[in-house]
Symmetry: C2
Subunit: 342 residues, 2 copies
DNA sequence: TTGAAAGCGTTACCAT
DNA sequence: ATGGTAACGCTTTCAA
C-alpha cells in the first residue's frame, strides 16, 4: 500500500492524504480522521526511502565502530549505551544504524555515510586522547555527539560523559580509608580518553592523601579477562604486592578473581578488589547490598541524553554545542575489606 | 555531488555515468575509467535513499530486539554475534539497523519495517520455544534467518545454530568423568529455545550415565550476576549441596564465583564450575590453557553465516530455507577438579 | 480546504 | 556505446 493507492481508495489527492497524515493544519478534521482510519486499516506506512528522498532527511543515526576495538562491541557497557540510545531514538523517530570499519578507516566511513546521505547524524563512541575524528566531523558538518570527551581537542563539540575521574578518585579514597596503601590500578588502554581520566582520578586521590604512586602497580591494556588474570598474577608476584586492586572493567575483574583464587588468597581478607561496572546490587547477608556501581548505571542514561542532543542538533543547524556531565553513583560493598596487616 | 552534476562535469549523460559506475558491460572501458576517476576525485557516492527507491532495495538488514530482554543487548554473546554479522553484511554491501521494541511488539515492528520498506531482511535473535515470530515472518514474506532454532515450530525456516545440546551434554559428561555425582545446572530462562536444549543435553548426559536428575539442582532464570549469586548460595545451603555447577552465562558465573568465595569454599577443590562462554584461552602454569569454550567462539561465526544466508535469500526469492548447525568446540580446563570425597 | 505538478537522485527501459 | 525519459513514492510549492 502506497500513498497513491491509498489516495485512490479515499477518493482524495495524494497531497491531501499526505497532509492529513503529517499533521498539516490546513486539512479539515473530518478528512484527517477519515484518512487516518484508512491508513490504519490498510497498514499504510510511508516508504522510508521515498520520504527520505523527498525531505532530505534519512531519519537515521549512525554508529561507526572501529574493528580493532573488538571489545567495544563485546563490552557490556556498549550494550547499555546502545540500549539507552535506541530507546531515545525511537522517541524522536530515528532509526539506528551500525557500521563496522577497519581500525583507521573511521574517517572514510563518515565520509561515505555523509556522501550517501545515509544518516542525519552520528554518535562517536570510545573517543581517544586528541581524537582526530572530532575535527573531521566538525569540518564535514555532520551533526554528532561524543559519548565521552577527548582531551587535547581544542574546538567545541557536543558530548555527554560520566565523571570518570571523580569516580576513580572516590574509589581510591575509599580503599585508602580502609587502610590500603598499595593499591593497584588495572586500567584500560590509556589512548582511550576515559582510561586517562580514570588514571588521573586514581593518581589524584593518592597524591591528595600523601601516597606515592608506584609505576609497578599500574597497568593499562585492553580490558580482557586474560589481561586481568595475567596482570593480577604479575602483581601478586611482586616483592611487595598490592593489598587492593582497582579494575576498570567487569570482564577484566573476572580474570582478577581467577588469579586471586588460583593464588590461594581470599578476597576481602587478603586482598580487596573494586570494579567500576559490577552489577548494580547484590544479595549478601540476607539483604541487598549495593556495591561499587560508579559508572555502569550511568551509561544507559548517557545513551538517552546523547540521542536527545543529536535530535536537537539535527533539527537546528548551527546549534551551539551541548555538553553534559553525569556524576557516577558510588556505593561500595563486598569484595573489599580493610588492608591486611603486614 | 550527485549524479547529475557529475555527469555534467564529464559531459556525459546520467545514464552512462550510472552504468559505468555500476559495472554494466555496454560502456566502453575508456569511458568507465574516466567516470570512475572523476567519481573518486569528487568523492561521489550514490544517494542511498534515491538508489533504494529506484532499485526497490534498501540494502539494509534489520535486527529487532525485544526490550524485556535487557540482557540480550548486554550479553557478551550478543556483541559477538553482531560483530560477526556486521562484518559479513559489509561484504555484501548491506548495512545493519537496530530496532528496540517493547516485549510483545516485535510483530508490529516487523510489519512496520516491511511496510516502510526499511529493510530487505531481518535476523531473528533469541528465539523462544514455539516462537510465533517465525510464522509471522514467513507469512509476511520478509526474508529472515533465525540465530538459533525454535522447538515446536513446524514450518520450514532458515537458521544457523550452535549445538547447544551436545555442548552441555559433553560438559556434563566431563564432570561425571571427574567423579561428580551432584551437578547443578544454572540455566537461562527455559522459554528461550537454547536454554531448553542445554537442559536436554544436561539431562541426557545424566541419564546416559545412570544418574538421576534432581530438580533441586536445576535452576532457570534470566542470566544475571545476581541470579548466579543467589542460586549458588541456595545450592550450597542444601542438605546435600552439589559438587559441581554448570552455568549458562559468563555473567551468571561471576555471581557463582562470588557466592563460592563468600562461602569460604575453594574453586576446583571444594567445588567445580563450568561456564559455557568464558574467555577463549587462559594463562595458567605458564602456558595458555583453553577452558570450556563450547559456545562463545562459535557465535561470531554464526553471525557471519547468518549474514551470508540472508544475502542469498534476498537475492533469490522463494529460495529454499537453509540451515546450518555449528558444533561447539569443547575444551575444559581450570576451575574444575575431581569431586571432593564425602 | 483541496489538487496538480514539480522535484528529490537514482535506475532501467527504449531509442538511436 | 550513449542518451532521453519514465518510474520509484513521497513532500511541497503554487493554484484554485
Amino acid at each position: 500500500m502506497n500513498l497513491k493507492t491509498l489516495a485512490e481508495q479515499l477518493g482524495l489527492s495524494q497531497t491531501t492524504v499526505s497532509r492529513a497524515l503529517n499533521g498539516y493544519p490546513e486539512v479539515s478534521e473530518a478528512t484527517r480522521l477519515r484518512v487516518q482510519q484508512a491508513a490504519e486499516q490498510f497498514g499504510y506506512r510511508p516508504n522510508s526511502r521515498a520520504k527520505g528522498l523527498a525531505t532530505g532527511r534519512a531519519m537515521m543515526i549512525g554508529h561507526v565502530i572501529p574493528t580493532s576495538n573488538k571489545h567495544e562491541m563485546v563490552n557490556p557497557v556498549f550494550g547499555d549505551f546502545v540500549a539507552g540510545a535506541s530507546e531515545a531514538y525511537a522517541k524522536f523517530g530515528y532509526d539506528m544504524m551500525f557500521t563496522r570499519v577497519q581500525d583507521g578507516n573511521a574517517e572514510q566511513a563518515y565520509r561515505e555515510l555523509l556522501a550517501k546521505r545515509a544518516v542525519d547524524g552520528v554518535v562517536l563512541q570510545g573517543p581517544l586522547i586528541n581524537d582526530s575524528r572530532i575535527a573531521l566531523l566538525n569540518k564535514m558538518g555532520l551533526p554528532f555527539v561524543v559519548h565521552g570527551r577527548s582531551t587535547g581537542v581544542s574546538e567545541a563539540y557536543s558530548w555527554v560523559d560520566v565523571n570518570n575521574k571523580r569516580a576513580f578518585e572516590r574509589a581510591t579514597e575509599f580503599l585508602i580509608d580502609l587502610g590500603h596503601r598499595r593499591i593497584a590500578l588495572l586500567n584500560g588502554l590509556e589512548t582511550m580518553d576515559f582510561a586517562q581520566r580514570r588514571r588521573d582520578g586514581y593518581l589524584h586521590a593518592l597524591k591528595h592523601r600523601g601516597l606515592a604512586a608506584s609505576p609497578d602497580l599500574m597497568r593499562a591494556q585492553e580490558m580482557t579477562e586474560v589481561y586481568g588474570y595475567r596482570e593480577t598474577m604479575s602483581l601478586l608476584a611482586l616483592k611487595t604486592p598490592p593489598t587492593a586492586i582497582l579494575t576498570s572493567s567487569m570482564i577484566t575483574a573476572i580474570g582478577v578473581r581467577r588469579a586471586i583464587e588460583d593464588s590461594g588468597l581470599k578476597m576481602g581478607r587478603d586482598i580487596s578488589v573494586i570494579t567500576h561496572d559490577d552489577d548494580l546490587s547484590y544479595l549478601k547477608n540476607g539483604q541487598d547490598v549495593p556495591i561499587f556501581t560508579a559508572l555502569r548505571s550511568s551509561v544507559r542514561q548517557a545513551g538517552e541524553i546523547a540521542a536527545a542532543m543529536l535530535a536537537e542538533l539535527i533539527d537546528t543547524p548551527d546549534h551551539a554545542p551541548m555538553t553534559r556531565m553525569l556524576e557516577a553513583e558510588l556505593v561500595v560493598g563486598c569484595s573489599s575489606g580493610p588492608a591486611p596487616q603486614d
